[in-house]
Amino acid sequence: MTHGHVATLADEDGAAVERFVAGDRAAFDELFQRHSDYVYHIVNGVLADQDLSRDVTQEVFLQVYRSLPGFRRGSKFATWLYRIAVNRAVDAARAVRRRKWTSFTPDLEQRADPSGDPAGRADEQDQSEMVARVMREVPAQYRDALVLRYYREMTTEEMAEVLGCTVTAAKVRLHRARQKFRECYERLYQRDTRA
């Protein structure tokens, strides 16, 4: 996505916001069409649950629908929208975390992966599904950074903008998130590659 394209989108978003505030409800549909996939991908990246992600994505746009009249002119709509999406998704992930499941068959789950070798499993199982499984184990507060960086391929500067923090803070957050992901990944797939 080039800078020119981003600028054009920002202009189009700004115009749509103006029209919505003026009473043109169709402008909201335009914004939804333009950003719904992106928002869904962020939310689903954090939650790794399609049904829940659909609900949360709709809640994000509901919040936008309600809050758009108070949207500050001059702000970038997409950044504001993605920040809402990240916050909503992390909140939902925390709520899911509180509802703890009791597994009756942990041994079966382990038995299903006897090799414990994700590289060998790559052919059998979709890599994205593998990541989703690990992401469910990663604490909610670390997921957003991973999603923005790897799922949405944002730069650290863009991440900082969406997360509402400094670039340095975003780097630290990303570093910790990677550490957590690695811990969960190795624990889940029983990696033991210590020298």
Binding site: G45, V131, H175, Q179, E186
Partner: protein
Amino acid sequence: MRGCTRGTRVPSARCREIRARLDAYVEHELSADAAAAVRAHLDGCPVCRTEETRIVRALLPLRAWTPGQSPSDLAAGLHARIAAMQAPRRRNVWRLQLAGAAASVLLVAVCIATGLRHNSPGMSASDDAPVGRALRSGTETTPRAAASIPGPGSSVTPSSELRALRAPGATPAPGTVPTPATADARPPRTARTRPTPAPRSFLDVADSRGVTARALMSGVARRPEANPDASNVTQPLPATVVRRTAPQPPPRFEQTLNERVRVGDQVTELYGEAKWDESGRLRAIRVRAETADADGDGVK
């Protein structure tokens, strides 16, 4: 380049410093100078190289992470929710109007009734209050007893009024000796119901068929080591668990059970989930319980 001491797991300060930047290094996020310093250290430190390999392996799936397809009903669902969000406003207006009308009717009825009673010859305002009468006579009454007391104007015998005051929960006046008629009117002690003791675990809560979750789960999947016969493991959940659909697992079959059990004033919802893989092998069973007040939504 100094690295970890061979044979020891304790990394040196330099190794710790390098490892803190390894993820950024493998993701090419370091400046050229910083990356060169890390590379030089890795050349001389096999332990940190192993660490680098582990990081690369763990982050590899993340790089291959691709967004899934958005659900097709996303827009339709949102429009429905926007419509639902706007609907309560109209309903609230309607409710307010209804409540206002009801309040007006009630007020008029109370005014009429009060005016009639005050105008009735030989009746004072206090005479029409059975609860007040009971209080004056030193007898306590419960709301239930008060509710069962007939109002003024109805043909009430003294004994029936007394029986009403002696309804369950009513306390006799001090020094009052119950007559045989009133003693007969008392409900037997056995009529009192004791609250059902709360089960220790949600697993012991029986559903409407008298089946507990523990009983359901106990016969589901046997541990592989106890049962090497794989055919037993691949057996689907019993019909009582898979309540709505016959257990014919397609690839990545996943099913949720939702049992609602009411115990006293609380409702416990039991969620169960079973997963099969493509070959029909049972992967996992897990349960979750949420308890809330019957008239509230506080999940515990």
